[in-house]
Amino acid sequence: MSEKFDVIVVGAGPSGNAAAYTAAKAGLSVLQIERGEYPGSKNVQGAILYANALEQIIPDFRDDAPLERHIIEQRMWVLDDESFVGTHFRSDDYNKPPYNRYTIIRAQFDKWFSSKVKEAGALVICETTVECLLMDGDQVVGVRCDRQGGEVFADVVILADGVNSTLARKAGFHGEIQAGNVALAVKEILFMPQETIEARFNVKDEEGVVIEMFGKITDGLMGTGFLYTNKDSITLGVGCMLSDFKANPNRSSPYTMLEKMKAHPSIAPMIAGGEMKEYCAHLIPEGGFHAVPKVFGNGWMIVGDSGGFVNAVHREGSNLAMTTGRLAAETAIAAKAAGKGFKAKQLAGYKSALDESFVMKDLHKYRDMPSVFHDNSQFFTTYPELVNRAARTMLTVDGIDKKTKEKEIFSSFRKSRSLAGLAGDAFKLWRAFR
């Protein structure tokens, strides 16, 4: 005899855990189904945890969540082949609790989050793949798993099955993923003694540093690199649009890009002696506002990466995931309380809650950003080179007067991009960021 739950959550990443926790905490019967060996075993993220989204779900998470370092310094680097020009923002303000963001190791963090989900009363089963949604006409009524007697029923199914969004595609809720809407990111975790990290990055105790990078490290493809400090390891990665990798098979592959990045003269000394602990690759939905599919229907809602909820410009994903998971669960709780069924009409509150939250507002703000950067590769090649050359010209003391140097810099810009091109690029950026 198959069981029926109030809510089935497919997936135990940040969005799935947020949904399962919120629903179970409110007293709903929740079954969460995870494909991996344990929650966190299949998950890949940089990873930065933005405190606010989790605070809304578990206010006292800092008491026992496995957090690595809180970020007190953010660096932005624009790199050419030999050098970088960068800004660093470091503030003791970030050293006052409660901290705003942390580096985390997802395998550990997800395990902790899942333990909270279980404490809240949800049933969590792992090593079980959901093959498809069970339909009664146009109403989702449950899921079928890859185990004997694998059918199980629920009023609402929350799809938190990740970027590939297999279930929603199978059910025809949205189309195939487009290579132009996903980035392929690779990363490594390099082990390093705590003292080495603290000396190299000028931090102490549990302070951490983030470096965001763009420029020639991505071989002219649209993408960025990053470096995060953990307690006793460094996470380092780079990602570009999958469509660009496909279009340039001979130019770059993710791993050569990462190797090149590690060998960059500004990066190599920071990671020297690091022992590789983990390497992984993952797709990131970066299509933004225009790529968000229909997110609810009769008996179902989509949360997290499956719904394309990632703000690529600010490298925010897990906080959108947790927020969408929470909002979906709150919608299910309200629908259950109202007692009028779980059709699309009763779940429409999910979409309005998303629209009112930072999730859709931020995605809307940057709606044109992906195409601006994608169609203008000069932002990743020419400009980084020009800026670095300008800095070198200006800062090298060689008997040439500064005025001549300025002229040289200006003409180098004009040579690479016409005046109209420069103005156009500035306008495009302004429009996209506005």
Binding site: Y38, I105, I125, G150
Partner: protein, 282 residues
């Protein structure tokens, strides 16, 4: 028939790292799994239950998190699970562990008589293969180690016949029940649990016994106090300097390839040729 299967929750050794400076095992973030050898014991126990009926009780000593390992065994089809967990068990070596587990099995036996105790061949973190035999000795059970197959179980006559891997062949052993079996790896394949069992296991309230509930009589025999083993030094293996040599076989006759290989071996081990020649002349 009542079978007790002892398991241990261990760090997944495939993902373990040794700290480069202190040489200690870094367990942080390493996933915990059921000792893989124990799963062969569990599957064998479940097969006996399928054939003869009865009950399979899981037993584990460890920290509270080891509950997950026991729940997993429930999902495979075990009927009951006991976690022996108490701070005073910490630091136990194989002597103290077998003492505590033997006490717990006696306690389980008071609820329902135990016919067979299963353990894995050894654990992947300690690799001693001592706990199973230790339990058998303490409980006065017939001991069958490295069992590759259970050939026959006669519940009328209370006898069991098993095949045991031994040096140079297979021993066929027949003995009386109750007995303790340490199961060899690769002897069976763990079943895939149906969904119903997964949900049942997620809900299953694993019984947790502290040292009193486990029936420990002598507290000096458990935990660090009851463990005479001393770890005097921990070190990582040094990688061997000599590496495998490549021998191309393209366009060469088997004779030439063999001669080449022999020549290379002799170059590496200069005394070998002399020794072989000396032997040959005898």
């Amino acid at each position: 028939m009542h079978i007790v299967v002892c398991i241990k929750q261990v760090p997944d050794s495939a993902q373990i790292r040794v700290h480069p400076v202190t040489n200690t095992i870094m367990r942080q973030g390493v996933p915990a799994i059921v000792n893989p050898y124990d799963l062969f014991a569990l599957e064998e126990a479940l097969r006996l239950k399928d054939k003869f009926g009865g009950k399979v009780t899981m037993l584990c000593m460890g920290p509270p998190q080891a509950e997950d390992a026991l729940k997993k065994c429930i999902s495979f089809g075990a009927d009951d699970a006991v976690l022996v967990t108490d701070r005073s068990f910490a630091g136990a070596d194989t002597l103290a562990t077998s003492y505590a587990l033997a006490a717990a099995i006696r306690q389980i036996g008071r609820e329902q008589k135990v016919d067979i105790v299963f353990t894995g061949k050894q654990t992947i973190d300690g690799d001693t293969a001592q706990v199973g035999p230790g339990i058998a000795k303490r409980l006065g059970l017939q001991l069958l180690t490295y069992v590759s197959r259970i050939a026959e179980l006669d519940l009328e006559a209370n006898t069991i016949t098993v095949e045991r891997r031994a040096e140079g062949g297979v021993q066929v052993l027949k003995t009386a029940v109750p007995c303790l079996i340490t199961m060899l790896e690769g002897t069976n394949e763990m079943r895939f649990a149906p969904l119903e069992n997964m949900i049942h296991a997620a809900r299953y309230p694993v019984r947790k016994w502290n040292k009193e509930a486990a029936g420990i009589e002598d507290v000096t025999k458990i935990g660090l106090k009851g463990s005479p083993t001393v770890v005097s030094k921990v070190f990582g293996p040094t990688p061997r300097a000599e590496k495998a040599l490549m021998q191309s076989v393209d366009d060469a006759s088997p004779r030439d390839v063999s001669l080449n290989v022999i020549q290379k071996i002799f170059t590496q081990h200069p005394t070998l040729e002399r020794d072989i020649l000396a032997k040959a002349s005898v």
